[in-house]
């Protein structure tokens, strides 16, 4: 069913924000082909009348009261941050090169 090209793997990796190496592209392209080939048989089995199952339990309408709950302090929120400034998460410039 599928033959997944090196370019396709590169495209998927971009979508997934993973900077794969050239060597990885080669390995993954081969492996993904095998994996997806083995998985493709799922499409042969179920007819249109079979509903998809997203959840293991048939439960609906689980809601929370609209009442505030204590959260994290600013210090806790930033405790794992690679960089912070003025109570905010400091991140590299957003979308620098495209503009």
């Amino acid at each position: 069913m599928s033959t997944i090209s090196r370019d396709e793997v590169a495209h998927l990796a971009r979508l997934a924000r993973i900077d794969v190496t050239e060597a990885e592209l080669d390995t993954f392209a081969g492996q993904l082909d095998v994996i997806l080939d083995s998985m493709a048989k799922v499409s042969e089995v179920a007819g249109d009348d079979v509903p998809p199952m997203t959840h293991a339990a048939d439960v609906t309408n689980v809601f929370r009261e609209d009442v505030p709950r204590p959260g994290l302090s600013q210090q806790q929120a930033l405790s794992g941050a690679p960089a912070a400034e003025d109570g905010r998460f400091k991140v590299p410039r957003i979308l620098g090169e495209e503009q």
């Binding site: 199952m53 439960v59 590299p92």
Partner: protein
């Protein structure tokens, strides 16, 4: 190797609560054992000596003051899989991306253990983000199987299982998305239970595949697993998929099962999981062990019949689409912005570049592979053929289970097609690795409870084999009952407990 580390959790608890031994002494003995053997086993990623002793001291003080124990397992040491958040200890998920991350909050399971006075020794090793069947995908090195340290302990909860087999902890917590508690249980000769989906809160369980993940107890005996099960299970308003139902009385079921009477219990052998004509890749010794386990159940009075679940043969494929799809989304948050490894932030690189670099360096090969497969399966042009079809297969697998449970109370199969394989054997062959989950995946897809109980040693390689017992949703008690009856009969027939055959480390 001597007491107290060789005792079961139930025995330790009763001695601690009776004041015959202190929790501190028991905790120290386990910490010493970790110090002695964990260089070789690598079951723990982090050992919290101070925190463990502090908990033990509190339990001892409580008992000295004449208070009733906080729970039936208060004071007993445990290993916690490093995928559950702990505010006092690092939580790495076996990934480089979370190296040194200390969460600002506790998982519900972590909180329940603390409230029960359980002594958390530390965090156990695992396949990165629980993706794997051998614990070789840990960024912090593989865990060795105590039965043969050149072999894997299974995975992804390999650290939790190996810690039990190496007597580094009396019990542990694992998580199971496609077999990650049961399969390591089988490969290390220990008991591992995946509860009904929604039975144990997922709040604070770092998600791999949200619709399949479930935390559960690991122990050396069925009763210990049941006691731990009752501590961690129950409804949690912080998890929308947590079931608002009472916890099944599993400890009572384990005790009654141990009386050894299974008359009136109907047991179904799943033909699709029992080797024979379907048995591609099943090890002969595993099939023989399974067949004698089934004989034993019959001897205990169970009514055994063969049951067919035809759609199980599509379960593996469905799983390896659903789980990667969900993981591709769940792991998107590891982007080096708010926490975790950041690479390449040189002041000129954009956020997007830094994200991609950091994810490339922070994730291991299997995680990247699955993210890419999942990204593909969810893509606009492929969704229906892959993710959509896989969800339909899930419906069909569930219907198979429902039909089977109209005829029987529990279903049985081998837990894994083979015994523990050598470290390194399957790392470059993802499909061979994935087949280790062949028997365990259907239960995850349907959300039903399932467990692995050791069925002795394979007669071809002398390594442990697991018997899988599966029950309908929220009917864990029937599963525990069968397991406890079988466990006792197994040891009686062998003339000794399985763990007594463990090689010296």
């Amino acid at each position: 190797m001597t007491e107290p580390i060789t005792l079961t959790a139930a025995e330790l608890a009763s001695r601690i609560h009776a004041g015959e031994v202190s929790s501190v002494a028991v905790t120290k003995a386990h910490l010493e054992r970790i110090g002695e053997v964990d260089k070789e086993i690598n079951a723990f990623l982090h050992v919290d000596t101070e925190g463990a002793l502090a908990t033990a001291e509190r339990v001892d003080a409580d008992i000295a003051a004449g208070n009733p124990p906080a729970s039936p397992l208060a004071g007993v040491p445990l290993g916690l899989k490093d995928v559950l958040t702990t505010s006092g200890q690092p939580t790495t998920c076996g990934s480089r991306t979370l190296e040194g991350w200390i969460p600002p909050y506790d998982a519900t399971v972590t909180r329940k253990l603390a409230e029960a006075g359980v002594v958390v020794l530390g965090k156990t090793n695992m396949d990165e983000f629980a993706m794997g069947s051998s614990t070789e995908n840990s960024a912090y090195g593989p865990t060795a199987n105590p039965w043969d340290t050149t072999r894997v302990p299974g995975g992804s909860s390999g650290g939790s299982a190996a810690a039990l087999a190496a007597f580094e902890a009396a019990m542990s917590i694992g998580t199971d998305t496609g077999g990650s508690i049961r399969q390591p249980g089988a490969m290390t000769g220990t008991v591992g239970v995946k509860p009904t989906y929604g039975g144990v809160s997922r709040y604070g369980l770092v998600a791999f595949s949200s619709s399949l993940d479930q935390a559960g107890p690991c122990a050396r005996t069925v009763l210990d697993a049941a006691l731990l099960h009752e501590i961690i299970a129950g409804h949690d308003p912080l998890d929308s998929t947590s079931l608002a139902a009472p916890v099944p009385p599993v400890a009572a079921a384990a005790r009654s099962g141990a009386e050894g009477d299974l008359r009136g219990v109907r047991v179904g052998v799943v033909s699709e999981l029992a080797g024979g004509e379907h048995g591609d890749g099943y090890q002969a010794g595993v099939l023989r062990s399974f067949s004698s386990a089934v004989d034993r159940l019959r001897e205990l009075g169970a009514e055994v019949m063969e049951v067919s679940c035809p759609y199980f043969r599509y379960a593996l494929a469905a799983y390896y689409l659903i789980a990667p799809s969900e993981c591709s989304s769940n792991l998107a948050r590891f982007d080096a912005m708010r926490y975790g490894l950041r690479v390449g932030d040189d002041g000129s690189a954009s956020a997007e570049r830094v994200m991609s670099r950091s994810r490339e360096e922070g994730f291991g090969a299997e995680v990247k592979r699955r993210i890419i497969v999942g990204t593909y399966a969810l893509s606009a042009g492929y969704y229906d053929a892959y993710y959509g079809s896989a969800q339909q297969v899930r419906t069909l697998v569930t219907r198979d289970f429902n039909a089977a449970y109209e005829q029987v109370d529990v279903l049985v199969s081998p837990t894994a097609p083979t015994t523990a394989f050598p470290i390194g054997e399957r790392v470059d062959d993802p499909m061979a690795m994935y087949r280790a989950d062949l028997c365990t995946i259907p239960a995850n897809l349907a959300g039903i409870p399932a467990m692995s109980v050791p069925s002795g040693l394979s007669d071809d390689d002398g390594l442990p084999v697991g018997l899988q017992i599966m029950a309908p949703a929220l009917a864990e008690d029937s599963m525990y009952r069968v397991a406890a009856a079988y466990e006792r009969a197994r040891d009686e027939a062998a003339g000794s407990a399985l763990t007594e055959h463990l090689p010296q480390l």
